[in-house]
C-alpha cells in the first residue's frame, strides 16, 4: 500500500466488508430486475406486489416505510398498478384517511411468480455458501438493522 493511502478507510477490514455488502445488494437488484422483464414488471412494481402479497391490507404509508421509499412515489405508482388491475385500494371504513392495499387475483399470480424467481435467484447466489454461514450473515444483518433503527447515526 502506498504512503498516500495511510490512515484511509481501506486500511480497515470493516470497510471492505461493507463495500461487499453494498455491491452484492446492487448486483442482486439488477439481476432480479432482468428476470422480471419476463413478467412485464419492473423492480419497484414487484416490490409493491410482493410486499402487499405478504402484508395484505397494508396502508400506503406502511408500504412506503417497508420499502424505504417516499409516500409520493407510491401515490404516483399505485394508480397505474390499479389500472392494470394488479392491486386494489379500499378505503378503511374506520379511518377514511387510510387506503388499504390488496392484490387482485392477477396481482397475486404475478407476485407469486416473482417470488418464485426471487427464490431461485437466492438459491443461485447462495450456492457457494453453506446454510450455517448464510444464516450467520443474515443474523448479523438483522442485528445491524435493528441497531440502526433503534439508534440512528448522529454524526
Amino acid at each position: 500500500m502506498s504512503d498516500i493511502n495511510k490512515g484511509v478507510p481501506w486500511d480497515f477490514p470493516q470497510f471492505h466488508n461493507w463495500v461487499a455488502v453494498g455491491r452484492v445488494s446492487i448486483m442482486v437488484r439488477k439481476a432480479m430486475a432482468d428476470q422480471l422483464v419476463g413478467l412485464g414488471l419492473d423492480l419497484p412494481a414487484y416490490d409493491v406486489l410482493s410486499t402487499v402479497c405478504r402484508f395484505p391490507g397494508l396502508t400506503q404509508t406502511g408500504l412506503a416505510e417497508k420499502l424505504l421509499v417516499g409516500r409520493s412515489n407510491l401515490s404516483m405508482m399505485l394508480p397505474d398498478l390499479e389500472k392494470k388491475e394488479y392491486v386494489v385500494r379500499k378505503l378503511d371504513p374506520k379511518d377514511k384517511r387510510l387506503r388499504r392495499l390488496y392484490l387482485t387475483e392477477e396481482g397475486e399470480k404475478l407476485a407469486r411468480q416473482g417470488l418464485a424467481i426471487q427464490l431461485r435467484l437466492l438459491e443461485h447466489m447462495l450456492s457457494p455458501i453453506d446454510e450455517l454461514e448464510s444464516e450467520a450473515a443474515g443474523q448479523t444483518m438483522r442485528k445491524v438493522a435493528k441497531h440502526l433503527e433503534a439508534s440512528p447515526f448522529q454524526g
Copy 2:
C-alpha cells in the same frame, strides 16, 4: 403462519436473510447521505470522490463499473465536479479515448472528510457486532459477489 402463505418465500430463512441485507444497505446509504450534507456533497458525488481517491487515474468507464452506474450518468456528473474543481480529467496520452480521473487538492480534502464520516458510521453501525462476526459476514458477501460476477443468474 396462515394457510395462504404456505410455500411462499417467507417460509425460507434465506429470504429473511436477504431482505435484511437489502434493508441495511438502503439504511446505511440514507444515513451516509444525511451526513454528507454538511460537506455540501450528495451520495453520488461522494461515491465518485471516494472511488477516485482510492484509484487515481481511473477511467470513466472503469469508475462506472466500480459504482455500478451507467457511463452516461458520469458524463453528466463529472463536468459539474470539474467545474467545482474537485476533479480533473486528463486525456491519456497513449489512448486519446481515455479520460483519466484525478482529485484536486480540494477534492482530496473532501474525499478524506467523507471517508472519515463513513468510517465513523461503520463503527457505529457495527458496534453491536464483534469483529470476528463482522469479518465473517464480509467474507460471505465477497464470496457471493464473486460468484455472481463469475456466473450471473440466467433464469
